[in-house]
Symmetry: C2
Subunit: 494 residues, 2 copies
């Protein structure tokens, strides 16, 4: 039967192969499935989740983990075990009854939210949301106790292992103080610049062709993945077969396109994970923050880069006919246009962090019992005014009810977005140090300084290192918001 | 924990839900997956197969089956148990080592066949095929012993429970004697008729639109299924979400279209299975012969019906522009054109049974040790000449190497095709008795006499009755080749 580590390797390979089917069926549910198949599909996916959870939490895994940990400390297998231990803990720390209650309360709240949000029915939402919060607090308390972390850190650790409030507070409080001023200066600068919006319609078929061309340019491996359509764009599938989706709008050519660029960043991370241990937890992407760093490397660092925009401009003109809006300078302005608004998912690069800081502050206080769910709208209004100068009073739909994350209790996820942006900026600075003519080469369509660096320093490492060590080895220092700050200043008021 | 039957119901529901994911991932593999994903997908599907097989063959199932069988004889649960017992037997009768050896030998032979067939490399093929035959004989011997059936019957029983050589011999030897003469008479009749082939090209997009319109006309439920493209058309998915595929050819408008009509027949059977017990073996389609009866009801009975052709003709003209070939009379001639040829899958309705009888006779003799694999080409040449007047000497590619079935050891399947055609003819006679103006109503686009009858008598019954009883209750008598014979005579020399 081999030694303990070998048994674990086999068990995780088995779970990996079964989860593969869930990933594809989940993608299919979003991108292909007719509506009538939903009930059966949801049941099938839930059955698989229970099955894999059962496999993961069986006593033999615990026994083998302990034995292997004693045998393999400090080796590659040691890192493998650390990650196995992490997913084992996540699967077993919570009592089954709590997991089930969370799942039920989350589904109920999310399902009702879908019809409550359009009506801005905050009162109705609260009825389902309060139990979600209560159960998340219970979860945080149990994880906090077991892991020796403060409650919010314990939740964040699920998405972004090693991420701690103490560092986020430092980074975010810095961002928070200078961001409003930077936004004002950027707005003042942009007030004097004219920007032309592309005039449609832009037929879906051509948009799709262009998206595929841009994916090719960005090195997406079509032998191991594909592009499809779904209502909420995402990156799914498995590293050997990555499925990204987008949603085309005939009236708007840039939204789907830049969405595809974003998802391609996620996809290249997955496609670039080492195949030898793709079946083990240590072979997975490091964290959601790192994952967002990859999508934002593509969408923001590269996508709005003048060199990249210079390549995109003639492609747009060729596909849809020349128009003023497709001039490189105009496109670059369009992609960096700052406009404080209500909605996070359509926010620009500069105002996006304000949306995240607001959510982080509110959800942390909520989880740690400093506020209650009913206090959210007041805080929301106050912070939106302070950070973005936007009045949200009475607007629940486009205020605290806009995101799906809270509805099913995914507290601790939001910081990943801005941590991702910060990582991406730091990575690009490291690339420039490594390759001084990188910006010029991007303009010539040579992205190798970017992708070779990411492949060597991020993708190929999978989860071998903890995030902090990964970033340190890659860039020479731990995460430092100064890079992001410099990037924004250079781009928006430079 | 409920009683034994309830425990079985739960266990089978679980297997059904997990198998659902395999069905969708299998469809995806054929219709969506990029080539590079194949290795990981095949491993994932194999893992699921092992898992479900393990669930099915665990001792608790055997214990509960015995207990429930003692308790529930003669009830609806009794039929349910009979079918559970059937799949349990299939999963457990063969030693694991034989199952594995069969799977390996079959994969090896099929894989090599893909490149050997184009070269007609029969000698190379034999090297891999002989072990496949040997293992199939071992399988047949074990099943024969356990089930008290002759070896070939024991294999056929996997695809078509209850089907026995003794009935097939009677039906086929009858067919065999009058078919060559009927073919000659049909050819003589058609020699005097001019037929025009549609002139292309026929753009894929319009072919797809037409296919969807025809599926709609045939009552395909798009809320529980979809149409896509794959190299080898099939009907897959789950009853709640049936996936059919086709392959378009710009030069040929009727092949993909009639393929879609065929698969729609399979799909309606699946979509028409009762949802309440879709998770149990008794809720599945009765047999492959019955399944083929549904596809052939659509493709042959209905698809080449003058009334149906009269509806199709203006649809074709509207989509691709009027042309002589789209005249109803011409289309009807096209769909019933008799042309003895080498290839089964493109054979017409009248010569198709000859291909099947030939294969049945050869594979039965092979399994029962009357001939060896090396004897196949000689027999093939002889029978092709006798039944179809076609010379196949030295042509292995379009002779005994043309089908995939034998390469992986699926002996016992071929009779299902012609049994299906015979069933379909008998069903249509029963429908006509039930609704004397059916043919006229078909011409008006009212297919309710067909589909209501199939729904009531076939689909809704799933596997509650054994095939013979199902057919008897539906049509008043057991399967009788006379209906098929009359149908062919009416259509081809009438």
């Amino acid at each position: 039967m081999g030694n303990a580590y070998e048994r674990l390797d086999k068990a995780f390979a088995k779970m990996h192969r079964l989860s593969h089917l869930g990933e594809i069926a989940g993608w299919d549910q979003a991108a292909m499935m007719p509506a009538g198949g939903n009930q059966a599909r949801s049941e099938a996916l839930a059955e698989l989740k229970i099955l894999v959870h059962g496999m993961l939490s069986q006593p033999a895994i615990a026994v083998d983990l302990e034995q292997a940990e004693a045998e393999e400390a400090g080796t590659f297998e040691g890192a493998g075990l650390r990650e196995m231990r992490r997913v084992f803990r996540q699967a077993t720390l919570l009592p089954e009854a709590l997991v089930e209650a969370k799942s039920l309360a989350g589904s109920r709240c999310e399902h009702a939210w879908r019809s409550q949000r359009p009506k801005g029915d905050w009162t109705g939402f609260l009825v389902n949301f309060e139990p979600v919060v209560e159960l998340a607090r219970q979860e945080a308390a149990i994880l906090s106790q077991a892991l020796g972390l403060r409650p919010y850190d314990a939740l964040m650790d699920k998405f972004d292992p090693g991420s701690r409030c103490v560092q986020i507070d430092a980074a975010f409080s810095d961002l928070k103080t200078w961001l409003p001023d930077l936004i004002k200066r950027a707005l003042a600068k942009q007030a004097g610049e004219s920007v032309v919006k592309p005039k449609g319609p832009f037929p879906i078929q051509q948009q799709k062709e262009l998206a595929l061309e841009v994916m090719t340019m960005l090195g997406f491996d079509f032998n191991h993945g594909r592009l499809d359509v779904s209502t909420h764009p995402f990156c799914g599938g498995v590293p050997q077969d990555v499925r990204i989706t987008t949603l085309y709008d005939e009236a708007d050519v840039t939204r789907a396109l830049m969405g595809v660029v974003h998802e391609t960043g996620h996809a290249r991370y997955e496609q670039g994970l080492p195949r030898e241990y793709v079946h083990l937890p240590v072979g997975r992407a490091r964290s959601m923050a790192l994952h967002e760093s990859q999508s934002l490397s593509c969408e923001m660092q590269l996508g709005a880069h003048p060199g990249f925009v210079g390549l995109l401009a003639p492609m747009l003109a060729k596909k849809f006919g020349a128009q003023e809006a497709f001039q490189p300078q105009n496109l670059a302005r369009l992609f960096t246009r700052v406009e404080p608004g209500l909605i996070r998912v359509v926010a620009d690069e500069l105002t996006y962090p304000a949306h995240i800081i607001l959510r982080y502050e509110i959800e942390r206080a909520l989880i740690e019992g400093e506020i209650e769910a009913r206090d959210i709208p007041g805080l929301w209004d106050e912070k939106m005014m302070a950070y973005l100068g936007v009045d949200t009073r009475g607007n629940f739909k486009d205020g605290p009810m806009q995101d799906i994350h809270w509805t099913d209790g995914s507290f601790g996820y939001f910081p990943s977005y801005t941590l991702g942006a910060m990582h991406a900026a730091q990575f690009f600075d490291a690339m420039r140090t490594n390759c001084p003519d990188m910006d010029e080469r991007i303009g010539r369509g040579d992205f190798s300084p970017v992708f070779d660096w990411l492949s060597t320093n991020i993708w190929s490492k999978a989860s071998q290192l903890e995030s902090a060590e990964l970033v340190k080895q890659a860039t020479g220092s731990v995460l430092d918001a100064a890079h992001f700050k410099r990037h924004l200043e250079r781009r928006y008021i430079g």
